[in-house]
Symmetry: C2
Subunit: 807 residues, 2 copies
């Protein structure tokens, strides 16, 4: 076990004392004369809120070993407090088992091995208070800090009734769970957008579900954590599945053109908007509640800690008006309408009929956005509007340009695992008004037209960047970003590929906002229930700062770039940036099956065919893992002549591969069209992290006392594998100049192409070899026409440029 | 989708009316003059408890389609109520989507296809009320009845404050969720057992965690649903893993003996018991609470419905005293101590120190037990004591004799998937006092001795039934059973094998108690979150009857034996018994590779070797699935000479295989020891149900308003497989007479053996072939000495006897 904590705030002794008093851990006056062991014991005694009598408490405390032969009460009689017994007891409070998890006679060594903060000396009150303060902030076996574990036992119950002037209650810069989740107010409002996307002559009303502390009814103004999730009100999975496009189609030759970006640039529509609804009255009381929202456990954690949680699914979803149009500017406007209401700059009504206005009177006007994938995407979209009230976004696995989600360099490129999906499919899936039979009836014909328009606009024929995609490119508007940004992405996310976060991260660099980046080793996942990382606490620190305006140094404390190591499990490392500092550029040249540091004297041309037998094709189009493992294998297989493989020498030292590799190739197709795909591969037999995290303990994470739960998980090493795919790239040979312009392509003629692979942050261990596999049809991402095309590379004009740093 | 509901109570119109009034669905006086469509609309209006104003309500109702072109409000203006619109609306309320899940113009056909109850005519008030009453009891897409789905939206909130005289609130014979789960009282008591298993000179105190409705504080007496779970306070997984026995050992020849059962019969110890603790005071107020118990979602469902939930882990677990001894009579006594306290016949204290007595003053004295595996086992153990207060047990996947869990016919036979596990390992794993470091210190030496005693007693050397196992055989005491019994078991449970439930079921047959049996197609799983079966409602009906003494005909309504079909998904069928009625006995004879209905004229002897190459052995001992798939394959493989395979002709008709197949073999070993294993196999390429249920929707089952949740799941057909293992059997050739007696065995001499295979209830489809595979070493269950032994069968003296019935 190894723990990584980045949310810890270093505070002086006086602050420690007052915070411990604030949360009720210190009720006595602490003076230098206070008995050390009395104080320690009083701390321990307070760590069992489930005990409601002295006898019960004593029984529980006496179960704690202090030394290999004494329980804590026996030890305490000796009137000393040494670090060893302190951490023996501490480890037990943190949920570790004597003997199994740690040696009772070596607790300090265990603290060190687990990468937990500890103090070697406890010679005076100040040191003891400091050690206890830190222990409360230390993560335990169940992946929560001790104070959160105590909260799950009801520690904070007596503080639920604190005067609102004392809320939020802070400890170590973070808001504590002193908000009764049993009493959360759940209400629905309908926000009037400045849109009429369903063309019914009325502005689209947008349903928002709110969970907020009841303290708000007593005068506490709380900030809002808002998740814009198009999936939230249900999805049309079956209808979406039926719409999936057939990818078993040949790549079509495109007519060359001379398009410039200006030719395809998106211009905002200036449709006339129906008037606002008249306000016929106002109220503070909503008229609709709900049983269970579709929640995100990070939000659940925050709901117990004084943040209102707001979910809205947006235009075209169940309960709202309008239609979906997949990442369009209208969806962005629909997303920020909720923020505008929360910040007091837009109207909402209690229902869709009566025009009774209801304000977010309980909100302090500060809003953060959370969520992953489409949800994080809409957070990104919202940030690029600079909307007032939005103080930060935490965008996880977010799309920054929809072209980078569904296309690449003039090719239709599916999100990994979903060949045939496209913007129209997603629009249909999220159009959950369809779930309300009678509501659907009203809007069905118009949505049909809308869908046809999306299908035309996305243009699967050319795969080119066009006005449709330009309208869905948030990167163009990054200059508008006024809020602080915390980005999270998996370097193995082949659904929302890493380029999305990379481009956003790079575009933000110039702006005067705080930006943080976390890169994990997962695919398209949430990371708030990892045992090894204090992600929830980091978010708490961040949001307590951004939304409650608490000066907790969140900007300084959280690392600029935090990266999970892919070799050592449970290891996270802070870096100043993704791929700038201490990074060196390295050119690799191509030889027969080799990547070399120096340009070889002689190189040849090498060819491969993209065509499979019917049997091969049938086999590999079904099983992507099998296809990937076969085409990447460095031994002979039935796919080894369908690709070219180039490998470096075994590495002399561990290296970090950072950012995007850049590839130049000189290539000829024997047809008048063609595409290339490449994979960057780490070759070397080794145990590697699993594809998905392993669940360590079901429901063991408590988001608050008698509140919701989450499964604790972690990436673990699996059995040895011979290689691992690190990055990918794809290009249409007719998009050599730009993704929006079609170049000519003559059969059997050589052309220079160059493009970036997907960025990464990858630890290449010593002795491994870096490989590049060049092929064409990508079973899981490109069209799969199984055409008879041969490709030839002129190796003398090929070059791979990497950015690396020392490990 | 197909639904199966067995919990429905048929009640007359007057009862329907009064129950609908009771739950607040009917507040108007219904007369024959009441307008049909007004009444229907009032029902619909009441189905949206989340709406808190008329406008909101109207908006929600207007989203419901009544006909392909009209919403329900438009339709209702026509003043008629036809069955089609009624069920179109009904299906939407049940969560089905117009178009995707059902055709709006054919709702009755959908009700029929889904196997949901519907009424063809709604011509008068009585028919409409009846139809609505039934609709509230109808399961929807999320696997809950409509009334439970409404409860999840807060429908019952206004009834939380009902006078206690009106609680429990009944509808259709079941207790409704009118108990505020936010206010549940959570308390711990320590029950004094009549045991001193840790020999510390004091009676063992047993910790019990109780969750009970706060209404109890206002005078409501509630029954208790009690789960005895040794896992509940944590487990020592690592220590247990370390103790796993090495199974890669040869089978040892045993010295023949002439033991009789009387020689090994267990006699109860008569140890002297320390005196009871003196009572120094009494209280109604507990002194300890808890944050989160380790819960079972069925109990969560019941907790919202007026049943107190009690968890106790028993002797030797964290918080309790004593030591574990794996299924011993002391564990049974420890289990029933809790019931004795609940029924007022035993003392409990508020803590372990002060001797302040606390009674279960809130309990009506009626107790049920629930839980699976070891938990169900202890319920079975408790039932066989006839303890007062225990009204019923719901034993799921329960052991009825520990010999049938860890042994078979003179062999050490591991629970599937856990080779090397044994009673001592389980005792160690459950000895969770070890988790409290200082408490462990006190009891460690004694528990070490205890463990050594278990290791000796279980006797892995002979695998014979002995006094140790006889003490752990609950079947001997079945005559004591006084409570009603509901058994649940998976016919594919190779952990707790089906013989355990079969023997208990058969032993109960003679007793004047009600017994019910449910056989599902799962392995070792819970079945309370299946979409296709109303298991939770069945349990509600059962417990409302057994514990609240409500005359709801539960005994008559629930089927005697309910079996999930293994061919058709979502299909459950009621039978009068497991293997008696309409069952015919069928003898099959052995020929070369054949099982024949008539004894063949000539048969030969056939042999196989049990010995594998080192490489084979290394491969197959690691991967059980691979081993099973290879040894069962009916084509040549590297294991086909390690077994004999006999198959019937393809079946002319579908058949049901019921109960235990009986096998006679004439066999010789070429050594002076030996063992045979057999598998009964369904051969025939077909789509079959998956090994585990598929999760259909996460957290979609609400156990009550703002209460806990469960994942909805169901067995689904997977891709085609060539065969499926149906049953297994194992025997030591030296246990031909009895499992407690060792017979002689001479090398190369033929002996007659006969034994029962594990019982089953299996649907063999037409065209399939039944096969029997005879082999010796079972990679996942027996010892694996990889000895050079050859076995020879004399086919003329072999016979397989089956019990079958028509499908």
């Amino acid at each position: 076990m190894k723990f990584n904590q980045y949310s810890r705030m270093i505070v002086p002794y006086r602050t420690q004392v007052s915070e411990l008093q604030g949360i009720g851990f210190l009720d006595q006056l602490v003076t230098p004369q206070t008995s050390l062991n009395d104080l320690w014991l009083s701390f321990i005694y307070k760590s069992f809120p489930q005990a409601q009598s002295q006898s019960t408490l004593k029984e529980m405390v006496s179960n704690l070993l202090a030394t290999p032969t004494q329980n804590v009460l026996e030890y305490i009689d000796q009137k000393t407090v040494d670090a060893a017994p302190f951490y023996t007891v501490g480890l037990q409070l943190l949920g570790f088992t004597c003997g199994d998890d740690f040696k009772v006679d070596q607790p300090l060594q265990t603290m060190k091995d687990f990468n937990l903060l500890y103090h070697e000396k406890l010679n005076n009150i100040e040191e003891l208070v400091g050690a206890w303060y830190d222990l409360l902030n230390t993560r335990g076996k169940n992946g929560q800090i001790l104070l959160d574990a105590l909260a799950a036992q009801g520690y904070f119950l007596p503080l639920y009734d604190l005067p609102i002037a004392q809320k939020p209650l802070l400890f170590n810069g973070k808001s504590q769970p002193v908000f009764a989740t049993d009493d959360l107010i759940r209400e629905v409002v309908y926000i009037e957008s400045s849109l009429d996307t369903d063309h019914d002559g009325k502005r689209d009303l947008l349903k928002a579900e709110i969970l907020r502390p009841s303290d708000a009814n007593n005068g506490l103004k709380v900030p809002a954590v808002y998740t814009a999730s198009p999936y939230n009100q249900g999805t049309n999975d079956e209808a979406g599945d039926k719409m999936m496009h057939n990818v078993d189609q040949p790549l079509t030759r495109k007519e060359p053109n001379e398009l410039q970006y200006e030719d395809i640039k998106y211009q905002q529509d200036t449709e006339e908007l129906p008037p606002e609804r008249p306000v016929k009255g106002t109220t503070q009381q909503a008229e609709e509640t709900f049983g269970r929202e579709f929640s995100y456990t990070l939000n659940d954690y925050l709901a117990a800690r004084g943040f209102a949680i707001v979910y809205a699914a947006g235009i075209g979803t169940r309960g709202s008006q309008g239609v979906r149009n997949c990442g369009s500017p209208a969806e962005t406007a629909s997303t920020i309408a909720i923020i505008e209401w929360l910040a007091g700059n837009r109207r909402a009504f209690t229902n869709k009929t009566d025009n009774i206005e209801i304000k977010a009177w309980w909100c302090n006007g500060s809003v953060a956005m959370t969520g992953r994938s489409y949800l994080g995407t809409l957070a990104t979209a919202a940030a690029t509007t600079g909307v007032t009230g939005l103080k930060t976004i935490i965008s996880e696995a977010a799309i920054s340009s929809w072209y980078d989600y569904y296309r690449d360099n003039g090719l239709v490129i599916a999100p990994g695992g979903f060949p045939g999906e496209d913007a129209d499919v997603l629009a249909e899936e999220c159009f959950s008004r369809q779930l309300d039979g009678a509501d659907h009836l009203k809007v069905k014909p118009f949505f049909g037209q809308q869908l046809a328009q999306i299908t035309r606009g996305q243009d699967r024929t050319t795969g080119d960047y066009n006005t449709f995609w330009d309208a869905r490119n948030y990167l163009k508007d990054v200059a508008n970003v006024k809020c602080d940004v915390l980005m999270v992405h998996g370097v193995n996310d082949w659904n929302v590929k890493p380029r999305n976060v990379y481009n956003f991260y790079r575009a933000l660099a110039k702006l005067p906002v705080t930006k943080k980046l976390i890169l994990h080793q997962g695919q398209h996942i949430y990371i708030n229930a990892f045992r090894s990382l204090d992600y929830s606490e980091m978010i708490n620190l961040w949001l307590t700062n951004k939304l409650y305006d608490v000066a907790n140094n969140a900007d300084q404390i959280l690392p600029a770039v935090l990266v999970q190591d892919n070799v050592q499990p449970e290891t996270w490392t802070a870096y100043p940036d993704w791929d700038k500092t201490e990074v060196k550029q390295q050119n690799l040249y191509f030889d027969q099956e080799k990547l070399t540091e120096n340009q070889p004297a002689k190189t040849a041309t090498v060819s491969f065919s993209d065509h499979l037998s019917d049997e091969q094709f049938a086999k590999y189009r079904q099983n992507f893992e099998n296809w990937r493992n076969t085409i990447l294998a460095d031994h002979a297989s039935d796919l080894s002549d369908k690709r070219l493989l180039f490998k470096t020498q075994p590495l002399a030292n561990d290296e970090l591969l950072r950012g995007a590799a850049h590839l130049k190739l000189k290539v000829a197709s024997n047809q008048d069209h063609g595409m290339l795909s490449v994979m960057l591969v780490d070759y070397g037999t080794a145990k590697r992290l699993g594809v998905s995290p392993t669940v360590l303990a079901r429901k063991s994470i408590s988001e608050g006392y008698h509140w919701r739960e989450d499964d604790l998980n972690e990436f673990q090493l699996t059995k040895k594998t011979p290689f691992k795919m690190v990055s990918k790239g794809h290009i249409n040979l007719q998009n050599r100049t730009a993704n929006y312009k079609t170049d000519d392509l003559q059969a059997d003629e050589f052309y220079d192409i160059e493009f970036d692979l997907q960025p990464t942050f990858y630890h290449l261990p010593q002795g491994h070899q870096l490989g590049l596999v060049v092929y064409s049809t990508d079973m899981e991402m490109t069209v799969r026409g199984n055409e008879k095309i041969n490709y030839t590379l002129d190796l003398s004009e090929c070059q791979l440029t990497l950015k690396t740093s020392k490990y």
